[in-house]
């Protein structure tokens, strides 16, 4: 199953401490254990077993495994048949969509009574969380959704909310995620973007204040579509 991780530059360039155990005592202290990797016995590889932990293509076990970026047939052979590409793509799409409940969807922050809900993914979501706290302190009814999986889009979480103003906080100009929010959130989606820097808590609070008062978002440069 191909998985795409979308990260922004702040996440990519960020550093956090990752303790790696050097001895078995270290591993015990971290609560880690080494699990022997299972391998599919072959020679037919597809469909793989229901056991999600068994990979069909562990190299070096002499199972006749074939690991490649080519589309596989039912038996695990590569194929260039156009219909096989369609079949395979649909199989993967349904596999993900039918199991969307297994995927981490979104973190909901103070959304129950919110008038304005910030929506963010990646780095801006940390600022957004602080902005919700600060806005609440100032008496504004702000909440946030921190999206964790972008596809399939967590429509159900948007459908659950009462009518609100959405504010998509993104690291780009003119907005990308906001189009999905417009679709899933039933309109009322606004946008605030920054490039090369994160938005500040104060400006997010001001944006929430404007939106809850029914005022348009203010922009420093009318030609740069940094907020709308």
């Amino acid at each position: 199953m191909p998985i795409t991780l979308l990260a922004d530059q702040i996440v990519i360039d960020g550093w956090e401490t990752l303790p790696l155990p050097e001895t078995s005592a270290d591993a015990d202290a971290l609560g880690l254990r080494v699990a022997e990797r299972k391998a599919h016995p072959g020679p037919d590889f597809y469909p793989t077993t229901a056991d999600l932990d068994v990979s069909p293509v562990v190299l070096g076990r002499n199972t006749g495994a074939a690991c490649s970026d080519w589309t596989p047939t039912e038996e695990g052979f590569d194929t260039e048949e156009v219909e096989a590409q369609h079949k395979h793509a649909w199989r993967l799409i349904y596999k993900v969509c039918n199991n969307r409940h297994l995927l981490p969807r979104a973190e909901e922050i103070e959304v129950a009574d919110a008038d304005v809900i910030f929506v963010a993914y990646g780095s801006p979501s940390r600022v957004v969380k602080s902005a919700v706290r600060e806005a609440r302190r100032q008496g504004l009814k702000a909440g946030a959704l921190r999206l964790r999986t972008l596809w399939p889009f967590p429509d159900e979480i948007f459908h659950r909310q009462r009518p609100v103003k959405w504010l998509s906080v993104e690291l780009n100009y003119d907005g990308q995620l906001v189009r999905e929010i417009q679709r899933a959130g039933g309109g009322g989606a606004h946008f605030l973007g920054r490039c090369g820097e994160l938005p500040g808590v104060a400006e997010l609070v001001e944006a929430a204040r404007s939106l809850s008062a029914g005022r348009p978002l203010t922009v420093s440069d009318p030609f740069a579509k940094e907020a709308w």
Binding site: P43, V57, L59, G60, N62, G64, C67, S68, E75, D78
Partner: protein, 285 residues
């Protein structure tokens, strides 16, 4: 090929998908003969492939384990695999000239620099043939192809004082050889020695593409004539007199490093980490 196919290839893949008359089958057969001479079983070797005719037609034919990379990236994958697999497990890659000497050249050079223990067989059909016959980095000077309708205008890696094997040698490759698909025993022996070599080894084998290159450039449509064309330009003897102006392929073992050269990558890395584990540090001078 039947006996070797039964012994080493997956039954579903034994019938080649290459065009009739293509020289790739001869290259594949030479590799299997070398493997047989070495007594290698399917569980002893993991076979990787690049893309293009060579990668596409040979991928997943091997009874044992197989892998393939996106264009030009299989050398990097194989280097990682080298560290993950037990040292005695062989890794062999079959790739094309466009993959090795063009799109993946940087990865190939790094693989040679690290002296990762694996064998790369570059099956060279003078260009990008699986996409319809565009020129690449071994296409002879002046050859007419889909993308060089007035004759190959771009300097290649093979003529006018350049040889791609020189580059690989400078990068640290321990074993380098060149053959053409019309050669028999000496080519099999070269491949065998490459597989036996502990460290990075590469064998460059030129073969005829009858569907695209030969029908366009020398205007040869018969496979037998294409093989003859190649045979007339194959020069396995250093003393043989071939006209300097003619395109010829000097074949044989080009370079073999002694035992005191760069340590093998996996071996060196294992020794390095062991030293750090045991001694709590390493010499940083």
């Amino acid at each position: 090929m039947d006996r070797l196919a039964t012994k080493y290839l997956k039954p579903r893949k034994a019938l080649s998908t290459a065009c009739a008359g293509c020289g790739l089958g001869q290259v594949h057969k030479k590799i299997l003969l070398a493997i047989e001479q070495l007594g290698i079983a399917d569980g002893d070797l993991v076979w990787g492939a690049g893309i293009g005719c060579t990668g596409r037609q040979i991928f997943n034919t091997w009874k044992g384990d197989n892998f393939a990379g996106t264009h030009g990236r299989v050398y990097a994958l194989a280097t990682g695999l080298r560290l993950a697999l037990p040292p005695e497990k062989k890794i062999l890659l079959t790739v094309g000239d466009g993959d090795a000497f063009g799109i993946g050249l940087l990865h190939l050079l790094h693989c040679a620099r690290r002296n990762a223990d694996l064998t790369v067989i570059v099956a060279d059909n003078f260009g990008y043939q699986s996409t319809g016959g565009q020129y690449a980095w071994t296409t002879p000077d002046g050859a007419v192809t889909d993308s060089s309708p007035h004759g190959m205008q771009d300097p290649n890696w093979m003529q006018n004082g350049r040889d791609i094997l020189d580059m690989l040698r400078a990068a640290g490759a321990g074993f380098l050889a060149r053959y053409t698909s019309v050669e028999g025993r000496n080519a099999v022996s070269g491949i065998r020695q490459a597989i036996e070599h502990r460290g990075f080894s590469l064998v460059h084998i030129i073969y005829p593409c009858v569907t695209h290159f030969f029908s366009k450039a020398p205007g040869i449509r018969q496979p037998a004539d294409a093989h003859r064309w190649l045979r007339d330009r194959t020069n396995p003897s250093p003393s043989a007199e071939f006209p300097a102006s003619e395109l010829t392929f000097k074949t044989g073992i080009f370079h073999r490093a002694g035992h005191d050269t760069t340590p093998e990558f996996g071996e060196q890395l294992r020794a390095f980490t062991k030293k750090i584990r045991e001694g709590g540090g390493h010499d940083t001078r």
